[in-house]
């Protein structure tokens, strides 16, 4: 049967990951899109690592750097009195890190597609940098931002390896829907695994279709 608690936890994790990651990635992707600085290529490569690294490798490093013997882990324990690993906050941190390229790259492409002259036109109209961002850049980059939100959210729902390594499998705390599917298969509950898998399949397919529709619209606008 459907593990509603795991689904709820996954949705919470996806929403909070988006809430934290998207605003900061907007700023980061604008910088990467429009500024040339030393180390830019290295930074882009570093941010893209989660795309290529096996989730277990990423999970291993996260465990190493957030475990109770690490500086970050000890600092967190001193501050909050609880361990960062095997906690919701731990898998949230993992989720944010492994989603960085999914958030940054679509937005970077979207900001890159806005010509400098469009922003200059806004400035000559008297718009401040903030107004230009709010009234010109954001609406024009919106398909890329929406793509980033969809990718981050769906990828969080489906992520398995990193979450399992950093968070384990604690009900209501770290057991996401992807881990729950694995549990159900291990327990020979094929019906439960099938219903949750079908739900993830449906969400993923809808998300990807939405992204293609958005890209198609953007391409049409560019072609005009």
């Amino acid at each position: 049967m459907m593990d509603w608690q795991a689904l709820k936890l996954s949705i919470e994790l996806g929403l909070i990951s988006c809430a934290v990651l998207i605003p900061s990635s907007i700023l980061l992707s604008r910088i990467l899109a429009w500024q040339r600085f030393r180390g830019r290529n290295f930074l882009q490569a570093f941010l893209s690592l989660p795309l290529l690294l096996p989730p277990t490798v990423l999970g291993y490093y996260l465990l190493t750097f957030t475990g109770s013997r690490s500086i970050l882990g000890q600092w967190y324990e001193n501050l909050f009195g609880t361990s960062l690993v095997f906690s919701f906050e731990g898998i949230l941190l993992a989720s944010i890190i492994f989603n960085i390229p999914f958030a940054v790259q679509p937005m970077q492409r979207a900001f890159e597609s806005i010509p400098l002259v469009t922003r200059e036109a806004a400035w000559t109209c008297g718009l401040s940098n903030w107004s230009t961002f709010w009234r010109i850049e954001l609406p024009l980059a919106w398909p890329g931002i929406l793509t980033a939100i969809i990718l981050t959210f769906t990828h969080t729902l489906g992520e398995f390896g990193v979450v399992l390594m950093v968070g384990g499998n604690i009900q209501s705390e770290t057991r996401t829907i992807a881990i729950s599917i694995y549990d159900h298969v291990q327990a020979y509950d094929n019906a439960g695994a099938a219903s949750m898998s079908a739900l993830l399949l449906l969400i993923s397919l809808t998300a990807i279709t939405t992204i293609y529709v958005l890209n198609d619209r953007q391409e049409q606008r560019r072609a005009r």
Binding site: P115, V117, T118, E120, A121, A122, W123, T124, C125, G126, L127, S128, R135, I136, P139, L140, R221, R224
Partner: protein
């Protein structure tokens, strides 16, 4: 300096060389004309505050926008320039109305939106998006948007370059009509000399970032200060000679052009034996194959037709002069060329109108 005029002095040696002087009065169209890469757009961008030259001063009315000496540099948003970009740079996600409205700073002045739409003849197009407009309509929206911020100066960066010939003629006429209504200086940039001549109250020839000559279109076309200006204004017949005689009483000067003595109007600013550049407009050259007819004229020369090229309604005739290594170019009507049955290799007589020979101080002509 009268209020609302703009005074621009820009200088830098690189990366884009600039040596520019502009003074433009309200309701005056100042046209910067020059070849691609001559620094025209950089000059406009400097005035708007989109580019900071290494030194110079920009004064608009009594407002100092930029002064490298004092480090003063007013940001682009506060300069009150209306800028029409070469490809308009309209905001693609906004309707015509919103493209204009976004530039209206004072919300109290929203009534001016309808005035601007009517001024630029955009009625009925308010709800359309830029991609639903023709090139001419987009240009009008860009102009309305530029005027919406109540600018102190209007800057036009080759706004007619992407428009067909017929629409361009309409828009040129509209711009000339508009300038008196908006009563601000208009600085227009183009590489099209015909467009520049039709629009300009004041024309400035610019090359390699340097303003070479500023004045009325007639002055620049007929009295260029240098061979380079002559070349940039489309005059092919520019040469070097030496002043060989001056007669103030007779009002005549003579130059020695590779052994040929040519008479011209008295030009006292040049001294005897001074090396000078000179040019003659092709309209000041008479061509005849009647030797006796031409012989009685001043500055009579023998020539051979080395090339005839028909370009539309006109024909370009290139003449080789046996006495010199130089060539003369004439633009004549195709009708005349056919009537006179001109042909390559044919011997003809030409005479150069003395008053059409214009002497200039020598300067190296950049290649």
């Amino acid at each position: 300096m009268p209020a609302n005029s703009i005074n621009v002095r820009l200088f830098q040696s690189g990366p884009i060389p600039l040596d520019i002087d502009i003074e433009c009065q309200p309701s005056e169209i100042f046209v910067l004309v020059g070849p691609s890469g001559s620094g025209k757009t950089t000059t406009l961008r400097s005035i708007a505050g989109l580019y900071q030259p290494s030194s110079g001063k920009i004064l608009c009315g009594d407002q100092l926008w930029f002064d490298s000496d004092t480090g003063s540099n007013i940001p682009v948003q506060k300069r009150a320039t209306g800028f029409v970009f070469q490809h308009y740079a309209l905001f693609p996600h906004l309707t015509v109305q919103d493209n204009i409205r976004i530039a209206i700073k004072d919300r109290q002045k929203l009534h001016s939106l309808s005035e601007l739409i009517s001024l630029t003849r955009l009625q009925g197009l308010e709800q359309r998006y830029p991609h639903q407009l023709s090139g001419g309509q987009q240009q009008r929206v860009a102009l309305a948007r530029a005027l919406a911020c109540s600018p102190e100066v209007l800057l036009l960066d080759e706004p007619f370059s992407a428009i067909d010939q017929q629409t361009r003629r309409h828009l040129l006429r509209e711009l000339v009509q508009l300038k008196t209504r908006i009563n601000i200086p208009v600085i227009h940039v183009t590489h099209n000399l015909n467009e520049a001549r039709r629009l300009a109250d004041k024309l400035c020839i610019i090359s390699q970032g340097k303003s070479l000559q500023t004045g009325s279109a007639d002055t620049i076309m007929n009295r260029p200060v240098s061979a380079e200006v002559a070349r940039l204004t489309g005059h092919d017949n520019a040469y070097t000679a030496t002043v060989c005689a001056q007669d103030a009483q007779a009002g005549k000067s003579w130059i020695d052009w590779q052994g040929i003595k040519l008479q011209c109007d008295y030009q006292p600013e040049f001294s005897l034996n001074e090396k000078v550049d000179w040019f003659i407009s092709s309209t000041q050259i008479a061509l005849s194959h009647q030797e006796s007819e031409a012989a009685s004229r001043t500055n009579h020369l023998q020539a051979t037709i080395s090339e005839i090229i028909q370009l539309g309604e006109g024909t370009v005739v290139t003449l080789a002069l046996p006495q010199t290594s130089e060539k003369l170019t004439l633009n004549i009507s195709t009708y005349l060329s056919r009537q006179e049955q001109l042909a390559t290799g044919q011997s003809v007589a030409v005479s150069l109108l003395a008053s059409g020979i214009h002497l200039m101080k020598t300067s190296p002509i950049p290649t």
